[in-house]
Symmetry: C2
C-alpha cells in the first residue's frame, strides 16, 4: 500500500477536541433559541438528486455543485456509444482551441509564422476535425449532459433552503401549516477556497412556510438579536424590503428594471457608488435616473424619518408603499416583543442577490472584528416550493453561517474559557506499574467514580517508577484533566489538584463529593 | 423550471422532528458515556482524498465508494487524448461482451445459429475491434484510472476508522498518546439498499491509539454495556481474539491459513456449518482438518471451562496461548470495573471480516427484536496508521451503528415517551383576529415567557371568530404543544391544559410559574 503523506481536500478541515467543543457551543446556542421560538428540527440527506438541485442556484451555482458518481466504478457501465458522445464533445473543445490558435497566429503577419501555420494545418487540420465532428455543438452539449446523468445522478447539498422546499412538497399531506422548522447541517460548494470561505461549511436555518404574517419577521429578527447577544457578538441587523426596491425601480426607470437595480446595488459595498453608476450607465440608465436612485437609497435619519421621506418619494408606487407599511409595522412592534436593545437598521441599498425574495430581507454583519462579509441573512420568498409543484406557499427564513461566526468569535476571543472539551475530570495514577498493583481495587475506584457520573480514566501506560507521576501528569495536562487521583501500595488515595498542585489524602466518598458537579 | 415530482436518492432518508429527537436521544446517550470514559471528540471532513480511501476496504469496498466529481463541469477540462482513453476502455468492454456472446453461441451446435453468428461477425467482427484497440487491457485500465483521477479526486467518507488513522498521522506531533477519541458522523456506501442497510448512515466510534494496555479493552466492553443498559436494549457482547484464531489455524492446518479460516467461519451465521465445510473442502481442507476446526470453535461451557478446554487444544501454539491469556485477563477484571450485570460471551467462531484486527475482537447483537445482524463491533488493530507512514502504533476501537440501534429501539418501543421534539410549550391564542387586538400587549407576554426560557409562540394565522380556538388548537395538537394561553379583549389571560382541557384565569407571573421546568 502506498505510504503517501496524508492530506485532506482543499477547503475542508479536521476539527480537534477544542474546535469541536467551540463549534458545539455555537450550535447549541443557536438551537436553544430556535426551540424557544417554536421551531422544530428536520434533517435532509447529504446527497440530493441532481434534478432537485440543478437550475435552482443560477448558472454559477450549477458549476459549483459537487456531483457524486453513482458508484466506485460508475464508468464501467458506459457503452461504446456513450463514450463516443464524450469523444465528440472533446473534439469540439479541441476544435475551438485550434481555431483560436490559428486566429491568434494569423494576426501575426510574418511569413515565417504563416508557414509554420500551414505546416501545422497539414498534420491536424481544422477542416478534418470539423468533418469528424458530425453533431452541432448544441446537440453535443445535450448528449454529454445525458451521459453525465447516467454516471452521476446525485449531488451534495448546496444549501438548506432548496432541500427544505423539496421536503415540504414531499410531506405536504403530513405537515400542519404554518410549518416552522430549523435545520443545522453542512453544505458543500466547489468554490475557490479563501479566508472565511470553505468548501464544506455549516448553515443553521430557521424558516416558516405557509404563513404571510409579519409576526414571523418579528420573531426572526429577535432570533438574530438573541443569538448574537448570547454569543457576545455586537452586530448590525440590516433590513430592507423587496417591495420597496420594486417601488424604487418603478420611480427610477420602471418596475421591469427591479432585478437589474438589485444586482447593481448589491455590489455597492464592493465597487462603491462610482462602480455601480458605471454599471448602470452601461445598461442604458441615464444620469438623471442614476441620480434619482442614489438620492433614494442613501436617505438618512432615524428609522421614522427615513420611512417618512421614502413615503413621499414612492407616493406613486402602490407596491413601494406596501413595503413601507411592512417596515413600519416591524419597527413599531419590534420593541414590544424584545426588551433587549436591538441594532436594527433600515438600509434601502440592501438588495440580497437571490431573485426569489419578495418581501422583507435581512443581513447581519459583525460590527467588531475584521470580517466585513455577512454572518447571516435571509428574507421572505413567495413561491420557493413552486419549483416542486406546490404553488402559493409563502415563507420567510434566516440563516446563520456557523463557520464565519466561529471565526468572528475566535478573533474577538469571545469563547467562554470554561468550555468542556469532553475530557476526563480525573486521572487515576498508581505510584507503581500496573503489573505490580492490585488492579481490581483500582478498577473498583474507577467504577465508583463513573457511576457517579464523574468522567474519569486510568493512566494505562508504563511509568518511570522513580518518577511515577511524571508521565501521567504530562498526559493529564495535555488533555486539560483537572485532578489526579493517586493510588498507593497501601491502598490510600490522594487527590491532587493539577492547577494548584495541592494534594490531600481522602476517602473515595470524599473524593466523589469534591469532584461531583 | 421543471416541476418534477420531488424525491430523494435511494437508500437515503429525510428525518422529521420526531425522528431527529429520537436520533439525538441515542447520540446523546452514547456521547455521554464516551465522555465519562475519557474520550474526546474529533470531526473529519465529509470528503477525503481518494488516495486516502482507496485500497483500504478491499476491492469490494472500492466499488462501494461514492466518488465526487471535482466540480459541476468536471468533464469540460478533458482533452481529446483523455477521452480516447475512455473510448478504448469502452471498446475493451464491448470486445469482452462480444467474445462471451460468441463463446456462448459457439457452444450451441445447431447449424442455423452458427450461420447467424457468421452474419454477426461480418458486420462487427471481433478481429476489427481488437485491431482498433491498440493498448493492452492492463494499460487501458491504468489509463482510465489516471483519467478518472483527473475528474474525481475525492470520495465520501466510507467509515470513521481510516479518516481517524489519517488524522492521527497528520497530527502526530500535536497529539499526546494514548489518544482516546470519539467521533459520531455519517458515512456513505453505494451498497444495494435493503432493510437495515442504508446508503447514508451514522457511525459512533471510540478508539484508543498508542497503547497496547488491555485496560482499554475493558473500558470499551463497559462502554458497550453501559450504553445499551441506558437505552434499555438487552444485548449479547461476543468476544474473541484474533491470536486465538491464529492458534486455531496453527493447530488445524497452519498459521498461513488464518485469513482463509477467518473468512470462512465469519459466514457461519449465514450459511451454517455445512456451508462453511463445503467452502473449506473446496479450498483443500481435509475432513479431519475441518472436524478439528469445528471441534474447537464449538467448545461450550462457562467462560472458565471454555478457556481451560481451549488451553489444552492450543497448548502448542504460543500465539494462541497469548490470546487465551488476554481473554482470561478480561474475564477476570471485567467484574471489578463493572458493577452492572454484563452479558459478555466468548465465541471462538467470531472472526470479524476485516483483516486488520490483531487482538481482541467484539461484536454486539440485540437479543430481542427481529434484527439479527450486529449493532456494534470492533477490535484491536496493530498497524492501521502504517498505511499513512506511521508504524508501530497499536489501537483498539468500537463502533455503534446508530441507524440499526434506532430500528431496534423503535421495533421494541423503547423510546422514552417524554422525548422533546423541540416544540413550543405554550401557544398564545387571541380570541379575536390579530388585527383587532392590542398586538403590543400580546407580544409583551410572549417576550416575558421567552425571557424565562419557556418555548412559546403566537398563533399567526386568521381565525374563525365564531370558533376562535378551533384552528389554533388543531395546530397545537399537531405540534404536541401542551398548553394554550388565551388572551381576551379585556386583557385577561387563561391557561388551558390541552391534554386535560382544564383551564383557569391566571396572571402572567402565575403562568410563568406553572410552565417553568
Amino acid at each position: 500500500m502506498a505510504k503517501d503523506k496524508p492530506s485532506i481536500p482543499k477547503g475542508t478541515r479536521d476539527f480537534g477536541p477544542e474546535e469541536v467543543a467551540k463549534r458545539k457551543y455555537i450550535l447549541n446556542t443557536i438551537e436553544k433559541v430556535f426551540i424557544k421560538y417554536g421551531f422544530m428540527p428536520i434533517e435532509t440527506p447529504t446527497m440530493e438528486n441532481l434534478i432537485t438541485l440543478t437550475g435552482k442556484y443560477g448558472d454559477e451555482g450549477d458549476k459549483l455543485l459537487f456531483k457524486v458518481l453513482n458508484s466506485g466504478d460508475a464508468f464501467k457501465d458506459f457503452t461504446l456509444e456513450d463514450i463516443e458522445l464524450i469523444l465528440s464533445q472533446a473534439k469540439e473543445n479541441e476544435k475551438n482551441i485550434l481555431k483560436k490558435e490559428i486566429q491568434e497566429k494569423a494576426k501575426s503577419q510574418q511569413p515565417q509564422i504563416r508557414n509554420e501555420l500551414v505546416h501545422q494545418q497539414s498534420s491536424k487540420t481544422l477542416e478534418n476535425i470539423i468533418i469528424e465532428t458530425k453533431s452541432s455543438p448544441e446537440r453535443i452539449a445535450d448528449d454529454v449532459t445525458k451521459l453525465m446523468r447516467k454516471a452521476s445522478e446525485k449531488g451534495l447539498r448546496y444549501d438548506l433552503t432548496v432541500p427544505f422546499a423539496r421536503y415540504v412538497v414531499m410531506n405536504r399531506n403530513e405537515i400542519t401549516f404554518p410549518f416552522k422548522r430549523y435545520q443545522m447541517q453542512p453544505v458543500w460548494r466547489a468554490d475557490r477556497p479563501q479566508k472565511g470561505r470553505y468548501r464544506e461549511f455549516w448553515q443553521c436555518d430557521a424558516d416558516v412556510v405557509g404563513s404571510d404574517s409579519l409576526l414571523h419577521e418579528l420573531d426572526l429578527i429577535n432570533i438574530y438579536n438573541e443569538v448574537f447577544k448570547c454569543l457576545g457578538i455586537a452586530v448590525e441587523i440590516k433590513i430592507n424590503n423587496r417591495k420597496i426596491l420594486a417601488g424604487i425601480a418603478e420611480v427610477v426607470k420602471g418596475i421591469e428594471h427591479l432585478n437589474t437595480i438589485a444586482v447593481a446595488i448589491d455590489k455597492l459595498d464592493k465597487i462603491g457608488k462610482d462602480g455601480v453608476s458605471k454599471e448602470l450607465t452601461s445598461l442604458n440608465f441615464t444620469e438623471i435616473e442614476i441620480a434619482t436612485l442614489f438620492d433614494i437609497i442613501t436617505i438618512q435619519g432615524t428609522e421614522a424619518e427615513m420611512l417618512a421621506t421614502l413615503n413621499i418619494k414612492l407616493q406613486n408606487s402602490t407596491e413601494g408603499l406596501i413595503g413601507i407599511d411592512e417596515l413600519s409595522f416591524i419597527f413599531k412592534q419590534i420593541n414590544a416583543v424584545s426588551n433587549q436593545q436591538i441594532n436594527l437598521k433600515t438600509d434601502f441599498s440592501l438588495a440580497r442577490g437571490l431573485s426569489y425574495y419578495t418581501g422583507c430581507i435581512f443581513e447581519v454583519v459583525a460590527t467588531g472584528g475584521s470580517l466585513r462579509s455577512s454572518i447571516g441573512g435571509g428574507g421572505r420568498y413567495d413561491n420557493l416550493t413552486g419549483n416542486f409543484g406546490l404553488d402559493g406557499v409563502s415563507g420567510v427564513g434566516i440563516s446563520f453561517g456557523l463557520d464565519r461566526i466561529y471565526d468572528v468569535i475566535d478573533e474577538l476571543k469571545l469563547f467562554p474559557e470554561t468550555l468542556s472539551q469532553g475530557s476526563s475530570k480525573v486521572l487515576i495514577c498508581a505510584n507503581d506499574s500496573i503489573e505490580n498493583i492490585e488492579l481490581a481495587s483500582v478498577l473498583k475506584i474507577l467504577s465508583k467514580l463513573r457511576n457517579e457520573g464523574i468522567a474519569s480514566e486510568i493512566y494505562s501506560e508504563k511509568i518511570n517508577v522513580k518518577k511515577p507521576l511524571e508521565k501521567p501528569i504530562k498526559y493529564a495536562s495535555s488533555k486539560k484533566i483537572a485532578f489526579a487521583l493517586i493510588y498507593t501500595e497501601n491502598e490510600s488515595l490522594k487527590l491532587k489538584n493539577l492547577t494548584s498542585g495541592f494534594q490531600e489524602e481522602l476517602t473515595i466518598e470524599e473524593i466523589i463529593e469534591r469532584l461531583k458537579d
